[in-house]
């Protein structure tokens, strides 16, 4: 995909941003969140915009359409799109660009399609509004685009409502919708972040293909370096509203200049030694032949695995594969329909209400969304102190000592955090509080449900290191639920692969990551994007264009 320098300079300039400053309104003050950013984009060129959350990527992406979210305003600089300055253009002039000349693909297609209308009616809305096409013409064009994006039943799928279509398909339908007026520029705002790896690869291939076919320019916003490496001609790295550096994709990957960029690149190198099972002991947790169902619908079938003290078992699989349901069975929130859960060799009552306080204490949970898992109106000291009081009856000075101890363990200064509330903390700090709350009960087993997937990579690495240290210190057993195979590679001792409520394969990590694999494990592994810019091309050649996602399974 990359172009040579000589080639790009000949191309016509499409978007030219100079000294863009954007302010956000918070605490009754306007504070600057984007500090003078320059950006050039030629026709047919794809720019990757990467950085952690809060870097201002989406804000800049939207500003390229002359749009700011409520509570934001453009305070300086110019945005020149085909000779029109979007910062001074009238609302009518801006509206006539949007959808027609510049289109947008949002992160969550499920939330960005209107639930009340059929896909195709939403697709034809812009072309019909701009009188570019008649409704029927536009519908036919939509079907053509659906076909190009390799959606199943392209003639029929548009007549479904958003809730009747899967996430990956919706994301492609949204790309088709962005293409409806054949815009000159499309802003892709994290279009695959919410998808499973096997679905992500389908969407990436489809987007790359169609952008190429129509020679559309694009700004591709993401925090995933490997993804942007597949898509972009050049990459711009952002940090807290400022540009860190920009270079052509290949150059950026091979020899980044700035330290911050290098630190981003190195995140994935964190790896922990794999531990063997301790010999001659009973497993801390043993799940034996568990079946479970939600009402009439069976969700788990014959799930069995063991977790030994001091070990991390990663449970991987796509959304809907039954990972979190297994955790609910273990904690007793969802009593299994058959099978049993043993704890240190003793069978646990299937319903948590029937378990003793001590049994409850032994198994704790850390959740994915620290934001919603912590009560925003309760002090940190109380959040951590409550399980210590509930399970161990600590109070007064003893309780305070214990809370201080726990805050020390999670590397937060007790004096500074004791009296604060969750909304005052950053995402990583909140997740640390979640860990301290789980530790407060002195458990021997912790379920970590996607604990790092909502965090930026650097922060996530900090959390993984902390969990590793705590495991060594207290000989904890972890059940680590995740869909991110990079995380599994770095911290797991054993891996359990789940699909459609069944265990497909399980074993020590090293074995699982070296061939031969079960075909599904193989599909999962080979779908994880790699930093190599040629990776997607190679995978597509290996699998063939029609067997990209789940299709690759049927072939084998």
């Amino acid at each position: 995909m990359s172009e040579s320098d000589a080639n790009t300079s000949k191309k016509e300039m499409l978007l030219e941003i100079r000294g863009l400053r954007i302010e956000g309104y918070s605490d009754e003050n306007w504070t600057e969140i984007v500090h003078g950013v320059d950006l050039d984009l030629h026709r047919g060129e794809i720019l990757g915009l990467i950085g952690e959350s809060g870097a201002g990527k989406s804000t800049i992406g939207l500003a390229a359409m002359g749009f700011t979210r409520d509570g934001c305003r453009i305070s300086g600089g110019s945005i020149d799109f085909e000779g029109m300055d979007l910062t001074t253009a009238s609302p009518d002039e801006l509206a006539s660009l949007r959808g027609a000349k510049i289109a947008y693909v949002a992160q969550s297609a499920a939330a960005s399609f209107n639930p009340a209308h059929r896909l195709i009616d939403q697709h034809t809305e812009a072309p019909v509004h701009y009188r570019i096409k008649k409704r029927l013409e536009s519908q036919e064009d939509a079907m053509e685009l659906y076909h190009k994006l390799r959606l199943p039943n392209p003639k029929e799928i548009g007549f479904r409502y958003p809730h009747q279509v899967s996430g990956g398909q919706l994301q492609r339908a949204m790309t088709a919708m962005a293409m409806a007026c054949r815009p000159d520029l499309i802003i892709f705002d994290e279009p695959t972040t919410a998808l499973d790896v096997t679905t992500q690869i389908e969407v990436l291939a489809a987007i790359r293909d169609i952008v190429d076919q129509f020679n559309t320019a694009a700004i591709y916003i993401t925090h995933d370096l490997a993804v942007v490496a597949q898509m972009a001609d050049k990459i711009k790295v952002m940090l807290r509203g400022e540009e860190v550096e920009q270079a052509e994709t290949a150059k950026m990957l091979e020899e980044p200049e700035e330290d911050y960029t290098k630190s981003l690149w190195s995140v994935r190198s964190y790896k922990r030694q794999q531990k063997p099972r301790p010999s001659g002991t009973t497993p801390v947790l043993s799940v034996q032949n568990v079946d479970a169902s939600y009402g009439e619908i069976p969700v788990l079938q014959d799930v069995s695995f063991d977790i030994y003290a001091g070990m991390t078992v990663a449970v991987v699989g796509e959304s809907g594969s039954g990972k979190s349901t297994t955790a609910r069975c273990i904690t007793g929130l969802l009593p299994p329909t058959s099978g049993k859960v043993l704890f240190n060799g003793e069978e646990l009552p299937s319903d948590y209400k029937a378990r003793s306080k001590d049994q409850l204490r032994q198994a704790q949970m850390i959740y994915q969304m620290a934001d919603t898992a912590l009560n925003p109106k309760v002090k940190i000291s109380e959040i951590i102190g409550r399980p210590a009081y509930f399970y161990r009856g600590l109070r007064g000075a003893e309780l305070k000592k214990r809370v201080d101890e726990l805050l020390d363990l999670i590397e937060l200064e007790p004096a500074d955090y004791y009296n604060r509330y969750p909304p005052e903390l950053s995402g990583g700090q909140k997740q640390r509080i979640g860990i301290a709350r789980a530790l407060a009960a002195n458990p021997s087993f912790i379920i970590c449900d996607e604990v790092t997937s909502a965090l930026d990579q650097l922060v996530a690495e900090g959390i993984l290191k902390l969990l590793d240290r705590l495991q060594k210190e207290f000989n904890l057993a972890y059940m680590f639920i995740t869909h991110d195979l990079a995380t599994v590679r770095s911290i797991a001792d054993e891996v359990v692969v789940m699909r459609q409520g069944k265990i497909i394969e399980q074993g020590p990590k090293n074995e699982m990551f070296t061939p031969p694999h079960h075909p599904y494990t193989d599909l999962l592994l080979s779908s994880v994007p790699e930093m190599d810019p040629e990776w997607l091309t190679t995978v597509l050649e290996e699998r063939g264009v029609d067997n990209i996602g789940e299709g690759a399974l049927k072939k084998t």
């Binding site: 289109a103 399609f113 209308h117």
Partner: protein, 318 residues
């Protein structure tokens, strides 16, 4: 579709149970009214023998539960007993009055609901503008004034001073529809003024609540004009709360009209209820209360069903 039918059947069943509970409450409430009904009906000069005879005639000498089931059984077949005052069957007297009340409620609803929704959409579209503020202040003023006060103000300005409309809403069966509508205009307008504010504000806030959602942002980024975003993208997803408030207000139009009927001397069921309470005509009171309860339950049921039907997930299952 079978899912929807199942939900409707379940709600209907629940509604029926609610109605049974309410019938118990109504019966016991009348039972607990202070004083002896027979004495009250006969007046202070009645002799002991007369009172005893009256009690026997009314069946008051039998235990309450027996009378309750008798009353309930008859009520289920549409027989609400005889009025103590007029000695005529209650159902006949009520039917005519109730039809009048329903007619007035329908009249007011046909004006109020479209106006409220239109105003709600417009205030959402031009939110925080002068129009939004004027509409809010005006409707809040009208909802904050007591109905009888509003009624008299309307009579003063639209009838006494200008003579546009008749001040008395006495109607009879032999009038033409046009005549009836003309006579009933002022009471209907009074009720419109009372209910519009609530529905309008709910429409406005239900729409504005949705404006921050990603699909509205998406519509904006597609270049969809403002009015179309409100009408086509926000409104279809905002119906559920709006329908609920409409149903509550429709129920109010039927059951809350007592004061308006008194002010305009309108022969509706509300006036009849007030008369019967003062005259201790308890079969009529019970019947009226039961009808009001049924209206409330049915309208709420309709709102539930309406809200369900506006949900595309239920209308178009996977």
């Amino acid at each position: 579709m079978s899912d929807v039918l199942k939900i409707i059947a379940k709600r209907l069943g629940l509604g029926f149970v609610t109605l049974l509970v309410i019938s118990v409450i109504i019966f016991s409430a009348v039972e607990m009214l202070p004083g002896d009904i027979a004495e009250a009906v006969l007046g202070q000069g009645a002799t002991k023998e007369n009172v005893a005879a009256m009690r026997e005639q009314l069946g008051l000498d039998r235990p309450a539960p027996v009378r309750y089931f008798e009353w309930l059984g008859n009520a289920l077949t549409g027989d609400f007993g005889q009025s103590l005052v007029s000695q005529k069957p209650v159902s006949g007297a009520i039917a005519e009055r109730f039809a009048n009340t329903l007619f007035l409620a329908l009249y007011a609803a046909l004006i109020a609901v479209p106006i409220a929704i239109l105003l709600g959409v417009l205030t959402a579209l031009w939110r925080n503008s002068l129009f939004d503020r004027v509409a809010n202040v005006a409707t809040l003023t009208s909802i904050s004034s007591p109905e009888f006060f509003l009624g008299y103000i309307l009579i003063l300005f639209l009838s006494v001073k200008t003579g546009y409309f008749p001040s008395l809403a006495k109607i009879s069966a032999d009038m033409t529809l046009w005549e009836k509508l003309d006579r009933m205009f002022l009471p209907a307008l009074t009720m419109v003024l009372v209910v519009v504010a609530h529905m309008m504000r709910m429409t406005r806030s239900a729409i504005i609540n949705l404006l921050a959602s990603p699909y509205i942002e998406m519509a904006r980024l597609k270049g969809v004009p403002g009015w179309r975003i409100i009408v086509r993208h926000a409104l279809p997803n905002a119906w559920a709360p709006i329908i609920n408030v409409i149903a509550l207000n429709l129920a109010y139009l039927v059951t809350g009209v007592v004061l308006v009927e008194v002010v305009f001397v309108f022969p509706g069921i509300g006036q009849m209820l007030v008369d019967s309470v003062t005259k201790r005509d308890f079969p009529v009171v019970q019947a009226c209360c039961l009808i009001f309860a049924t209206t409330f339950i049915l309208l709420n049921l309709a709102a539930d069903v309406g809200a369900i039907l506006t949900n595309p997930r239920l209308r178009h299952p996977k």
